[in-house]
Symmetry: C2
């Protein structure tokens, strides 16, 4: 008997699934035990349906989701439409109809995952979404299945391929942000509206999901502070290089004494850190834990085949559990009450780039301001004094977010300093 | 009710398990569902027992394995003794007694795994060994659970921490092999007899196991050709650097048209390859596949806590399956008939370092020899001509193992060339 699947959407990722079923059919069948059959595919309208058929796609295309939801033979619904609606409604209805669901929709899972996970539990069906974080990297199942014995203390991730491509060009080739964005758009890595990628929103969605699997925490998207790469200048990149760092957009989820902290921000990474050599559109998740210590999981963060591979791994897992009779287990069973961390408890080193009049005594004044908030310097560089303006660059020792806020306010109030940029620094 | 565990051996790794149970008890209990209890610990003799008790270890130490094998309450036996005997006999008896077994013993699994796996199957019990390959890196479970949907075409791995530490010192600091070995021994990374590490034997054990999980193949240890790092000179390292490579000991398992090929050898890795920045005692497994494309799994290859974390993950998985009533599933279900590859089908680029009299016409003669075997040069460097002897370095285009053998024989027969070294080159 075959296991019948209904696909919602037939875009790039969905069309990667038939490729794997064809090229890897023997292994997939051995693993899933029953033949997997794409029984119906939902498309938008007759126009799309006719176009796909004309292009040689031999599927049972339907334009009304009810044809899938009411089909009792379909046991697995795979949502690959993206965005919030109508995906949210369709998944909800599929779960309510007792169907197992696979999705790659990080936006939806990060913002409405809680209710969908809970509904799946109530209905005793599976709701899996390995592809939602870091595309082809099997990080969620690894956290859920292998790191069960370990206590994760921090997850650092290069989680957005588009911004990582851009930062790689800015770091390795000295390109400006604007040039990097233009090329990313030309290559199809960035959309015409690149906001989600370059502002760290996409990475923040993934940080929400990683905090569930790594820490058992249920945090909201709004609990993840995010800062993008839009104001990284060639000056920032050059000074980072000079000091032995590369700048990347990094998701950072960690547990401190008071609770959990999650943020996405451009970060100075020491050149010898494993994340520092994750380049172009590749992603990586770096895990710090009390048992393993440091481990990293590296691979493509997006793309047709990598994402389809993760989706198909979820489908196979459901098929196996259907035959074992235990399909209702949650994707992630690790859950605990973990409050949001107190900002006074979340400490990092920071980089400050400041402009100041090219006059005597400015570094003294700057030292007084930082000292008044109990922050000490690790490195200070004075650059580009031109008789009028000087650029001062500071790398601080570890300071809390509370200290960061306080010192930033003082610097902004000080008439002789302009804060050009402030970035987190991962210490060596 | 608790799940009772019998430990065979209480060395470094074993004593890491209580650490995790203490520091991560809540998560472990939630995952395993039942409390895990170390009921008995086998030690060698009364002397060791008394020493451990005197050191404050509060376990039920026994000196006769039958006390564990005949204890019907013990459901899981964890073998952490290492070497072949008596581990092989004890595991066999434990499986025969219907106990689930966890082991970290790569030597044993690579050489006698087949019979133990088959016995576990017959008895309907689990036999897991995540820690046997790359210590803390959860690579086996990832291959078995997540890469089910993908077809692996090649696995490249930095699989031996000791030799990687040595190669890192030789590459980054220009140390000689002898100095690197001496320091590795002083730091406790290398044993007084370092053969297994430096000759690639340890890595070859791991390659056997990776070929099972990645390719479904059952190959023998003797099917893995292995070559160590003992004859890598500072000259080899320097010329690699000059040409944009680093040398590491790399396990290489790949499927070619005629079958599977597995070998361990010092390998020129392009500097921008993700494996090239895996340094010191760290391990990494780089997977090429038709779906994900390229992915890498990085972490500590050995050490008390990392290895104990993998062992405990296996124990938790067994505990869960005991409560689900499906404990008898094999660790790796992927199996198929895959012959050993025909050497004519296994192609790589190669580096040759040759000494020749410092006379005219030698590169011409060398070209004739390679050309006669249909091998072309990618790069040729003449170095260190001193009026008497010249060193010629060649990087070839891809050639088969058959061609390698033939050309090496011709070079050795030629009176004017001495083959100083031949190493595999991973092409860019």
């Amino acid at each position: 008997m075959s296991i019948k699947i209904g696909l919602l959407g037939f875009g790039t990722v969905a069309s990667g699934i038939p490729f794997l079923l064809k090229e890897n059919g023997e292994k997939v069948l051995a693993a899933s035990r029953d033949q997997l059959e794409i029984a119906k595919v939902l498309v938008k309208d007759d126009e799309e349906k006719n176009r796909l058929i004309a292009a040689g796609n031999d599927y049972n295309f339907v334009t009304n989701v009810d044809e899938i939801l009411n089909d009792e033979e379909i046991q697995i619904v795979v949502e690959l439409m993206g965005r919030i609606e109508p995906a949210r409604t369709f998944i909800t209805k599929a779960l309510e109809a007792g169907k197992n669901v696979v999705s790659a929709n990080k936006d939806l899972i990060a913002t409405h995952g809680k209710e969908l996970i809970s509904l799946a539990q109530d209905k005793g069906v599976a709701f899996y979404y390995e592809a939602a974080v870091a595309g082809g990297i099997p990080i969620l199942r690894t956290l859920a299945n292998s790191l069960t014995s370990d206590k994760v203390t921090r997850i650092l991730g290069v989680l957005n391929g588009t911004s990582n491509f851009m930062m790689t060009k800015m770091v390795d080739e000295g390109w400006s942000y604007e040039d990097a964005l233009k090329t990313a758009q030309e290559l199809g890595y960035a959309e015409s509206d690149p906001t989600n990628d370059v502002e760290g929103i996409d990475a923040a969605y993934k940080a929400v999901i990683l905090s569930q699997f790594g820490f058992g925490a249920t945090i909201d998207f709004d609990d993840v502070t995010h800062k993008g790469i839009t104001n990284i200048s060639t000056d920032d990149v050059a000074v980072a290089q000079e000091l032995g760092y590369v700048i990347k957009l990094v998701g950072d989820v960690r547990e401190v004494e008071s609770g959990i902290s999650a943020e996405v921000s451009p970060t100075f990474l020491p050149k010898n850190h494993p994340l520092a050599s994750v380049n172009d559109v590749m992603n990586a998740v770096f895990v710090e834990s009390i048992g393993i210590g440091e481990s990293m999981y590296y691979g493509p963060g997006a793309g047709q085949k990598p994402t389809a591979t993760s989706v198909l791994a979820d489908i196979i897992r459901i098929a196996r559990r259907l035959s074992d009779g235990n399909v209702g287990k949650p994707f992630n069973e690790f859950r605990r009450d973990l409050p949001l961390a107190n900002p006074a408890d979340v400490k990092s080193n920071y980089y400050f780039a400041l402009d100041t009049p090219d006059e005597k005594g400015k570094i003294l004044h700057l030292s007084e301001i930082f000292n008044s908030e109990d922050i000490s310097f690790e490195q200070v560089l004075q650059q580009k004094a031109n008789g009028t303006t000087a650029r001062i660059v500071v790398i601080t020792h570890a300071m809390s977010k509370t200290q960061l806020k306080a010192v930033t306010e003082k610097l902004e109030a000080a008439e002789d300093f302009t804060v050009v940029n402030t970035l987190k620094v991962l210490s060596n």
